[in-house]
């Protein structure tokens, strides 16, 4: 009993064992908290995530998500009951904008996630293996980067047919090359670091080197890019929705809402105005957050 207590007292506590990490995290938190725009971005993103999580339970008219029709209150201007007004079949625009957060979050996560799943391994293989493998992967990447992304996405949706699933697929297929470039460059640089050479000379397998030594050091630039890309993916999906190639009305997706709403301009302006504000604020949040993350994770950008 007594011996056990003594052991516990001698063994370093959690705080002592991870002193270095904790110090680094504290520095990150302090740098981040001092950066006003980064905090604003974080606040917007948190608000967005919360809304996406609890949206269906807090909206005033949950039945307006799709299909409800109240023609007696169609196209009402914003007032105390319908904060953002109502649309052409009397659905509450506020309700539909709030419910749109969930769809938007889904699209952003899937597009960025799939792009990362394709791009990161390819970039790592290209950088690590080198030779003709690298040459082949990078040339294909170059070709994809040399076609305007949205145009290629439209071409893919055009071939597969309009719809939200096809739109997400198309966006993912044009998004991965950026990750290949990023990870390949980083892997090339890391491959010649002394600690990687040392691991190799001690007989570490290639897989171990990649997963233990290289991948963890690539995470911060990947995180920064992912945060920025969430915003860009939201814009891309909304653009496809607006063109009538993504989510189809009456699905509560912001771009698709605007594509219907634009036919009700200028008299019923609130119908297109508020979904657009929602897109702009959300994208702004992810961009500011990404900027802030880059400032703390990439010391070169610290001012």
């Amino acid at each position: 009993m007594a011996a056990g207590t003594q052991d516990a007292a001698l063994a370093p506590s959690f705080a002592e064992r991870h002193a270095g990490t904790i110090r680094a995290l504290r520095l990150y938190a302090r740098t981040f908290a001092r950066n006003g725009s980064a905090m604003l971005g974080l606040a917007i993103v948190l608000l967005f995530l919360t809304t996406a999580a609890i949206g269906p339970w807090i909206v005033p008219f949950p039945e307006d998500a799709a299909g409800a029709i109240h023609l007696d209150i169609k196209l009402q201007p914003p007032d105390a009951v319908h904060w953002f007004g109502t649309d052409e079949v009397g659905n509450d625009v506020f309700t539909r904008v709030v419910l749109g957060t969930r769809v938007t979050l889904q699209i952003a996560c899937i597009v960025t996630g799939v792009a990362m799943l394709i791009g990161v391994p390819l970039g790592m293989i290209a950088g690590f293996v080198g030779g003709w493998v690298q040459e082949a992967i990078m040339r294909v990447t170059d070709v994809f980067l040399s076609v305007p992304g949205l145009v290629l996405a439209i071409a893919i949706v055009g071939a597969l047919g309009p719809g939200i699933v096809n739109a997400m697929l198309a966006l993912s297929l044009v998004w991965w090359p950026g990750y290949v470039r990023l990870v390949q460059a980083k892997t090339l640089a890391l491959k010649n670091e002394i600690y990687v050479q040392a691991a190799r000379s001690m007989g570490a397998s290639s897989l171990r080197i990649v997963f233990v030594h290289i991948l963890p050091n690539c995470t911060s630039p990947i995180m920064v890019k992912a945060s920025m890309d969430m915003g860009m993916a939201i814009l891309g999906a909304a653009s496809l929705g607006f063109l009538g190639l993504g989510a189809q009305p009456p699905f509560p997706e912001w771009g698709a809402m605007i594509s219907v709403a634009r036919t009700y301009l200028p008299d019923w302006w609130w119908y297109s105005f508020f979904p657009g504000v929602a897109i702009a604020v959300t994208v702004l949040g992810f961009n500011l957050l990404g900027d802030g993350l880059r400032d703390i994770l990439d010391p070169k950008h610290r001012e």
């Binding site: 070709v143 071939a159 063109l243 009538g244 190639l245 994208v283």
Partner: protein
């Protein structure tokens, strides 16, 4: 320089082949049978089979790709279902309008972006820098199509300063074609009222289109200017008593322009994607609107044609920017 140019040109040919390989692949993974598509909606089985042999769709993939290239080179880009014309003719009709819009827009972005970036850097952390930052931060976040709609709502419908959309008024005759660019042609033919009308129509779409590129240009130019202004040779120039204007506008800006140029090349791709949105909002008779209308009705060949043309346009711009880069910076020339 000649070797550098040739190398870039060869590289571009390979990139173009890559682009064509992508469009070829897309047309072959499409769920619909390409032969049935080519034969049209009301073709019977025998007709579809005839098309299959005629287009070589029963041959191996690499042979099909060769046939595909040959078809494109001879100007046979297929037929558009919704315009019932040859895709190539459609593209020739619509491309000049897109070219005009995008070029006008990039001109605005550079003409405003470079000076604003310089001003933000010179007055770092002063009120004017913060004001410009609001522009750069919001520029990338605002959805372009929504910005276009709001601009229409306010400047066209509310204030009535600009027309709602279109290239020119319905009743106006376009000038006889020389370059197929309306603004240039109307000037060459001396039709000044048409020129003013065309200019009047292009302003709103071009401004909506330039926003994201403008924001990026300001941002990069500001960052580069800040770095350049701290260099020893600038301090040296200051110590020699050169005027601030001369230091900033001549010595610093020249060096800050290189990364800015690279950014312009990069953002050009955004603009070509954005032009699809802006043309849809403003009813601009360009290649983007053409592609969207085709995509909605799954009209296949026009979409592929528009993709190839826009992709090629992007590659050409990057080629030109690479060359300018090579002229301005001898180091780039040698390292290839």
């Amino acid at each position: 320089m000649l070797r550098f140019t040739l190398r870039r040109a060869v590289l571009m040919v390979f990139m173009l082949l890559g682009l064509l390989a992508i469009t070829f692949t897309i047309s072959h993974i499409a769920p619909a049978d390409p032969a049935a598509l080519a034969a049209g909606p009301d073709a019977d089985r025998a007709m579809i089979e005839r098309y299959r042999v005629e287009y070589g769709l029963d041959r191996p993939m690499y042979e099909q790709f060769a046939i595909y290239l040959q078809r494109l080179l001879t100007g046979n880009w297929g037929k558009s279902i919704h315009t019932t014309r040859q895709v190539w003719d459609d593209l020739v009709t619509y491309f000049p309008n897109t070219f005009e819009l995008v070029m006008f827009s990039i001109l605005i972005a550079v003409a405003l972006g470079v000076p604003l970036g310089v001003v933000a850097a010179v007055y770092q952390n002063r009120p004017i820098d913060h004001t410009i930052r609001i522009l750069t931060v919001s520029g990338v976040a605002l959805p372009m199509f929504w910005l276009g709609l709001m601009a229409q709502l306010y400047f066209a419908l509310h204030l009535g300063w600009f027309p709602l959309g279109g290239r020119i008024e319905m009743m106006t005759d376009p000038p006889q074609a020389i370059t197929h660019l309306l603004l240039v042609d109307s000037l060459l033919r001396g039709q000044f009222s048409t020129f003013v009308e065309g200019l009047h129509h292009i302003v709103l779409p071009a401004v909506a289109l330039c926003f994201p590129a403008l924001a990026s240009i300001i941002r990069v130019n500001r960052a580069e200017m800040l770095e350049t202004l701290n260099q020893d040779y600038i301090v040296n120039a200051r110590a020699h008593g050169l005027s601030t204007f001369r230091i900033v506008a001549v010595y610093a800006l020249k060096n800050a322009m290189l990364p800015t140029m690279a950014m312009i090349g990069l953002r050009f791709g955004w603009m070509l994607g954005g032009t699809v949105l802006v043309e849809t909002v403003f009813d601009w008779p360009g290649i983007g609107l053409y592609a969207v209308q085709a995509a909605i009705s799954s009209d296949f060949e026009p979409i592929m044609g528009a993709t190839i043309v826009l992709g090629f346009f992007f590659m050409m711009t990057n080629f030109v920017i690479d060359l300018i880069y090579g002229i301005l910076d001898p180091r780039v020339r040698e390292q290839v």
